[in-house]
């Protein structure tokens, strides 16, 4: 049982249950890198990876490393614990982040945003992805403020 920390939503999986198409993201995550499937034909980033590109219907993708920085697109501050054990975790911030170097919509990442003040966090704040290792096969993506 991991120590609960206020503001840090506890990871609840021990494995990402990925397949050939989606495993490269998790392999990179375990190595501390952000890597996202990019359409070979048109350059659209698709996350989570899917069999087809929604822009051009292409079916060939190459995993491409990204800097891991981005901008908070929207967020919520969860204040009401939906499970008893979350009473020591709320308030926590969860949100949607648009990644630098991508087209935005279609490869947004949803994640817990940690080390931020829930009373002052804003849409547009700059953040950086951090992969917190849970097991040998799973590292949960979280975002932290990006000092720049």
């Amino acid at each position: 049982m991991t120590q609960l920390r206020r503001g840090v939503f506890p990871a609840r999986l021990t494995d990402p249950m990925a397949d050939e198409r989606t495993q490269p993201f998790w392999d990179a995550a375990l190595a501390g890198r952000l890597s996202i499937a990019r359409c070979d034909a048109c350059g659209t980033f698709v996350f989570p990876a899917e069999p087809f590109c929604f822009t051009c219907q292409g079916d060939a993708f190459t995993y491409t490393d990204l800097p891991g920085t981005g901008t908070i697109y929207t967020f919520t501050v969860v204040r009401h614990p939906l499970a008893p054990q979350l009473a020591d975790v709320v308030p926590y911030v969860s949100g949607v982040v648009e990644l630098d170097g991508t087209q935005g919509a279609g490869c947004r990442v949803i994640a817990n945003i940690v080390d931020v003040d829930p009373e002052t966090v804003q849409i547009g704040d700059r953040v950086r992805i951090r992969f917190d290792r849970i097991t040998d096969t799973y590292a949960v993506p979280r975002f932290v403020p990006d000092a720049g």
Partner: protein, 411 residues
């Protein structure tokens, strides 16, 4: 004299002939009845309201997996089921399932269809966590509860994100709406308070205590920017509507409520919208997802938002009422907050009466069907908060994952 419908579409060719319902109960209070039992009660009541019997019923047009027609058809002794179909996904199909009934009838596949919702939140709670909110690992040793190691990766991302419930999802859309357009909590409060004012006068409503702006701002924040009063309640009950041809409806017990236009669906990239998706393009991320549906519905009906007398807008969360007012054209995109703040949705003195029954926020939450009932009561002229001379009502389903839906009804 009623005009015959437009032969090119199903406009005005069908009508709601009957409506039936159980009492509305606070969550769990409908026990020891079952969901199926309540559905049957609502269906029998709706048939009786229309002056029909089980022997006339031949179609089931449902949404959100409300009932199994095989079960209900056999329990009630329906002589022959000729059409059994559902809109996919959840509450977004409420209004559209009436259109599904109309399509079945106009195409000659069925004569009398029922749309029904039944809900008992004692065992299953729709507003709760999508997945267990546990503190330690869940998946376990690399194994998958879904078999063969394959799980939708959106689920995996959601499980790590802390986004657990519909309230968290819609908070994200609302926060973005506030950022883009300056929508304020006072605007959300006006939706909650105006609907409570309507519920106070309606004996069937479950929340009838007065609600002030102070009460609203003193309430617990659940998921910013949403507080307790922005969330729907949880409740039990069943509501059914009977749809048949306009011609047949004119010979039945109640005045027909004609289906002028109906549409379901949404922009393809609206997708599943919430829970784990959030990939909608910028231009309609902070919306109800209804814009394309609204256009097709109004086009079929040949009228516009200015012709609508009462709007029954699916209100699981107060800000989604504001976004639907925009997407159905009652005001401009981004203008929904000031629009409600100016009193426009008030039953007394507004320009478009909204959720005159109190809605999900204050009357009861039966996944949209209470809105259908209210539309029918308004157009029969027997509503508790009767809009004088109401001729056209809008009823919607969703905001939710695709399909969302809208239906225009007229007397």
């Amino acid at each position: 004299m009623v005009q015959e419908g437009d032969a090119a579409t199903m406009k005005d060719q069908t009508a709601i002939a009957g409506i039936g319902y159980t009492p509305y109960y606070k969550r769990g209070q409908s026990l020891p009845q079952t969901e199926t039992e309540m559905a049957c009660k609502a269906i029998l009541a709706a048939l009786a309201d229309a002056g029909l019997t089980v022997h006339d019923l031949d179609g089931f047009t449902i949404y959100s997996s409300s009932i199994d027609p095989a079960t209900v058809g056999s329990i009630l002794g329906v002589p022959e089921v000729r059409f059994a179909a559902t809109l996919t996904s959840g509450g977004g199909g409420t209004a559209g399932s009436l259109g599904l009934a109309a399509a079945a009838i106009v195409s000659g596949q069925a004569e009398v269809c029922v749309t029904v919702m039944t809900l008992q939140q004692a065992a299953r709670r729709l507003g709760g966590t999508q997945v267990d909110g546990g503190g330690s690992g869940g998946g376990g040793g690399g194994g998958s509860p879904y078999g063969s190691g394959r799980v939708p990766q959106g689920f995996v991302m959601a499980a790590g994100s802390g986004l657990l419930s519909p309230g968290h999802s819609f908070a994200l859309l609302t926060q973005r709406h506030m950022k883009l357009y300056g929508t304020k909590r006072e605007h959300l409060a006006e939706v909650a308070i105006s609907q409570r004012e309507n519920a106070i006068k309606r004996p069937t409503a479950l929340r009838r205590e007065p609600l002030t702006l102070d009460d609203y701002f003193n309430a617990r924040m659940l998921s910013d920017p949403l507080c307790l009063f922005d969330y729907t309640m949880e409740s039990d009950g069943a509501v059914a509507a009977i749809v048949t041809s306009a011609q047949r409806a004119r010979d039945l017990r109640q005045p027909p409520v004609y289906i002028m236009g109906s549409a379901n669906g949404g922009a393809g990239r609206w997708g599943s919208a919430i829970f784990s998706y959030f990939q909608m393009p910028d231009e309609y991320f902070a919306s109800s997802g209804h814009r394309t549906v609204a256009k097709r519905m109004f086009d079929m009906a040949g009228v516009g938002p200015q012709d609508v007398d009462v709007a029954l807008l699916y209100d699981h969360f107060s800000p989604l009422v504001i976004m639907q007012l925009e997407d159905y054209g009652f005001c401009g995109i981004g203008e929904g907050g000031p629009f409600v703040a100016e009193g426009n949705i008030r039953f007394d003195g507004g320009t478009i009466a909204v959720n005159t029954h109190g809605g999900h926020l204050s009357e009861a939450y039966i996944i949209g069907m209470t809105h259908v009932r209210e539309a029918v009561e308004q157009l029969r002229g027997v509503a508790v908060n009767q809009v004088q001379g109401a001729e056209i009502a809008l009823v919607t389903g969703g905001p939710a994952g695709l399909p969302v839906s809208g239906t225009l009804l007229r007397r």
